[in-house]
Symmetry: C2
Subunit: 649 residues, 2 copies
């Protein structure tokens, strides 16, 4: 079984370590296609030039060529193409799509891949063309699954890739994925997508990816088979694809086309090359054009790979920063069809799915890029949470317009006047993100987002709808200066509201749920503030340090004594990650919880949530922060599930 573990994540994308008998690679990554008949650039050179970690070659071509066949069997595929890193092999499915029926035994080609030492062999699946009828697609899926079942018995030490098919029928894709997921398969390409990409049917592509991902076990690498153009890499990664393969670098070079992050151009149409890769820094457009054809092809292929690998670095950097959606949305502006495909992500069913993988907090401020931004899963989540957890208690509510952040500072004078008269009336901000209870004003993403003053009609509509839903049947009082004060009912206690306490209570509710405030909140909490910034840093209850506030996202880090209180007040499985007895001693020494030791966990936990680590009997062992969500914790065999922070001895 291929070792695969999550290291970092953003959107539904992830940075993973994949381990094979020939070494480890990081994903998202790109596998250049190596033609065993003609090595344009050798895999070794690719490694030194582009940092290539894994390549893919075609077992069908090797199988059919008498000489290559013999060599591969006698000295192995790694020797054949002279590469000691991981090698994936393809089976001939694509050839059958391109050239019609091929003469190949589906099991023989699996055995062959195994025998030549492929790290990841591929079954001979049935390519599901986009123009198939549902009936045809269904038959192809059934046959693919049958072949997978037979193939898996032959794989031995080889990792086996079973492509998800199902043409453009999402339910077939999901079913196919589910069936394949039950087999002892190691690696899941999403197959049959090349014609979608060739025809710029990106909406269908997105639909296929999501449907496939919904059916696949989350703990396995997913490979978008045949995708080699960087234009679609960010979106595919954001939807959970881990690997791409590129024959494009060579095919396009053959055709004198240059790949760019945002599209493709014919060399002949360029009077200079809009690129600074080593090839384009060495040669001018004129020089490139006048090169000998073979040399030109080589240089264009190198350019294509430099650009493609740079895009993957950009994506991995965006994941680390938490800006993958920003990258996806910006990139989509390069192509109207790609942009259109983002419309699919507005569907509630897809938001529901993507939200489960979306981190709770990010390292960087959220950037508005257009009407797509308000459809991001994290916005969907915070809307749900505000509606569920912050129901307005009074008949009336005071509403401030969007202002500088944090809002309570910006509106400090107004708040003081309001609270002098009425310290019970709730105050919310009608922000670009929708209604925000004032007390959440320092929490991610309310304070950590950058929106232009005027956004766009659709974003305004979304925030207005949530605002209307939130304030339904309430007397909504928009702040308009001293006039507003006259409208307010006087409350008997004229104490000015303690915004810090309110803020603490609100963040507890937002982060841990409504019930958590009973556990952690009381009016006698002791608050320690940063001398430098004046912001809340630590919170003590009965002299016990229960919470710390993180400066970067205004969320709480759960301290041991806080965890004790939550554990006492909230019954299981709330906030729990339950671990196997075998791991108890490790965790009790402060080591992280590895996924394979997780028995169960709160299905509501999301990546980067604070959590309680407990044993089978719900004894509290430690406090930590999740890296995985519920589905992942239950399926991943490798890697960290929860980063332990504090533990009970």
């Amino acid at each position: 079984m291929l070792k695969f573990e999550i290291k970092d994540r953003d959107a539904s994308g992830r940075i993973c370590k994949m381990s094979t008998a020939h070494g480890n690679i990081i994903t998202p990554n790109l596998m250049p296609v190596i033609n065993p008949n003609k090595l344009l650039i050798s895999p070794k050179e690719m490694r030194s030039l582009f940092g290539t970690e894994i390549v893919i070659t075609n077992a069908y071509i090797i199988f059919k060529d008498r000489e290559l066949h013999h060599q591969a069997l006698s000295k192995g595929v790694h020797n054949l193409i002279d590469f000691d890193g991981p090698i994936m092999t393809d089976s001939g499915t694509f050839q059958s799509y391109m050239y019609g029926e091929i003469d190949l035994d589906p099991l023989q080609i699996v055995e062959f891949q195994r025998d030549i030492g492929s790290d990841i062999g591929t079954i001979l699946d049935i390519f599901g063309k986009p123009d198939q009828t549902r009936n045809q697609a269904e038959k192809a899926v059934i046959e693919t699954i049958e072949r997978a079942k037979k193939s898996v018995k032959l794989k031995k030490d080889m990792n086996l890739a079973c492509p998800v098919q199902g043409s453009i029928y999402p339910d077939l894709r999901t079913k196919c994925a589910q069936s394949l997921g039950k087999i002892d398969s190691d690696f899941f390409p999403i197959g049959g997508v090349v014609p979608l990409m060739e025809n710029q049917k990106y909406e269908d592509l997105v639909s296929c990816i999501i449907a496939s991902k919904k059916g696949l076990p989350p703990n396995r690498p997913v490979h978008l088979f045949g995708a080699g153009h960087p234009l679609i890499f960010p979106l595919a990664v954001a939807l959970g694809c881990d690997l791409f393969d590129s024959s494009a670098y060579a095919k396009y070079a053959e055709d004198e086309r240059m790949i760019f992050s945002w599209g493709t151009k014919k060399l002949e149409n360029l009077s200079e090359i809009p690129c600074c890769c080593p090839v384009c820094s060495k040669f001018t457009a004129k020089e490139l054009k006048s090169l000998d054809k073979n040399e030109q092809k080589l240089q264009l292929a190198k350019h294509n790979l430099y650009v493609s690998f740079a895009e993957l670095k950009k994506i991995r950097t965006a994941i680390s920063e938490g800006t993958l959606w920003e990258l996806v949305e910006q990139k989509a502006r390069a192509n109207p069809y790609l942009l259109e495909s983002l419309n699919l992500l507005r569907k509630i069913e897809h938001k529901d799915w993507l939200e489960k993988f979306e981190p709770t907090s990010k390292n960087r401020a959220m950037f508005y890029t257009g009407s797509q931004t308000l459809h991001r899963p994290i916005i969907y989540r915070i809307h749900q949470k505000i509606l569920e957890r912050f129901s307005l208690p009074n008949d009336s509510v005071i509403v401030f317009r969007e202002g500088k952040k944090p809002y309570a500072t910006f509106y400090a004078d107004e708040l003081k006047k309001i609270w002098e008269i009425n310290n019970e009336i709730p105050v919310i901000v009608y922000s670009h993100l929708g209604p925000v209870p004032l007390e959440l004003d320092e929490m991610y993403p309310f304070a950590q987002c950058i929106f232009p003053e005027i956004t766009d009609n659709e974003s305004e509509k979304i925030s207005r709808e949530i605002f209307d839903q939130y304030t339904k049947n309430k007397n909504v009082i928009f702040w308009h200066g001293s006039e507003t004060l006259k409208e307010l009912k006087k409350t008997s206690h004229k104490t000015i509201k303690n915004i810090d306490l309110k803020r603490i209570e609100a963040i507890i509710k937002m982060q841990f749920g409504i019930g958590a405030s009973n556990a952690l909140y009381n009016e006698n909490l002791k608050i320690v503030k940063s001398k430098k910034t004046g912001k809340i840093r630590n919170i003590f209850s009965n002299e016990e340090h229960i919470l710390s506030m993180r400066a970067n996202d205004g969320m709480f880090t759960l301290k041991k004594e806080g965890a004790v209180l939550l554990h006492k007040f909230l019954c299981k499985p709330k906030l729990r990650v339950m671990i196997d007895d075998d791991a108890v001693s490790f965790v009790s020494e402060g080591k992280s919880v590895f996924a394979k030791f997780v028995l169960d966990c709160d299905p509501k936990l999301r990546p980067f949530d604070e959590c309680l680590i407990v044993d089978k009997n719900d004894n509290l062992l430690a406090v930590g922060r999740t890296l995985l969500n519920h589905m992942e914790m239950k399926t991943f065999e490798y890697g960290v599930a929860v980063k332990t922070r504090e533990y009970f001895v």
Copy 2:
């Protein structure tokens, strides 16, 4: 006087050739700032690595340093920094902004720059800070103009740069620009913008650029002084800036920051570098971090310049392709403040201005990127033209919904049925771009644009408003199949409409104006179609070849006999470019019209329009296609104004 000529163009941006005593450069371009005290990368090395063509150094620093002062005077600034290409010098204005009053005589520093052989010296202008009051800004402008007037008398062979000031007051910017434009000044920086960029006040920046451009003579290079980050290059170029200068490459490197096309990152925050420039292809992030500090600074500076120069290549490529607005809009998604600044371009006054420079046709299809697209000047123009030139003749109009392009092919069956009943009722398409008379369906940009099926509310609103305005007081019949046919009034002549003739008439009206159809159109035109595509290629009137249709944009190329007819029917100055007697013999040999020989021209001519070349007495000499607009033809001293195609012997 600095030689400056337009070679190609898009949006209000332009590719120009600028000639100096030390050679020619292409613009848009970037001048790396050379610190005469410490050469981090030598100008010569910059030329070989990044293709640097021009640099800028600081005359104030040289002036103040006894040793440099002496050397510069004795051997010249080109020897001092060892660069034989064009060198611009700065005067110390920025130092006065940074460090307050400086001890420098404003005229002495001009003389000094002249004496050390600077190709472009800069006056000591008064830096207009954004927080100045209007009064302060006005005083600074007056003083700057005074100094410019005195300085210009001292410049001799040196080209003199006179920065436009005026803080954030657009009218002051325009006035300052106008006053400076009247002086014998060669080169116009837009000054005082560094604090705007530092504080991401891009809306103010855009406002300053437009206001300055409006006042400046269009024939001079415009330099956005202090702008060195590629994030803003595309927008600045699209608004007409020709040059940038970068001290950022070194300053950021000093601070261990790396410049990317879309922003800036600290090296320490990167675990890998999202870039494939030669530096980032040679070193990993880890290796870069562990370099000796001086070496690290050098490598980061190189990376910063590789990336900055690549951005300029990207921009120049976009200009050649006619996709500069696409690049601007896509780029703006990298930063919400930059995106916000595009809102300014919705103002009619700015559209009116930008439209004058906007080419009539482009090499590539128009791509939709978001709600900004429908605000492009070319859309503004076509809306005006449709409203003015295609007033609906009947009470009723039939409307098709957006469909595949070209529309007449897509709706061929429907059209046939309609015209069998009524061949007089106008038919329009309610497209993403607004109402389109059916006959214009093959013309740029109606056929040559790619929009997603669903755009956005704002775009829909714009096209609806134009649609409503266009069809006001008309009986609007949306096509809904055979039901629609029943509603149609029968016309007496049951001849089916000749769409080709209608198309020709419509394109003539759109391209040359309403009156032109009297000259060129009649029902007996002979149409020759392409055998391959079936599209109109050539048009004959009375056996004379009057028009050819271009395959790429569906517009007409004017043939000699067509020109004769237009010349006869349309009185001057319509479609005319009137040239000096000195140039008549050249043009009569088919040579292009150089700007300096243009006496006057039709103010309605736009770049890439077909035009009539005439002498002072309105004798028709030749037919051509404009490269410059009216304002440019009247001011440019160098370069082509009109590309002559056919001439009368």
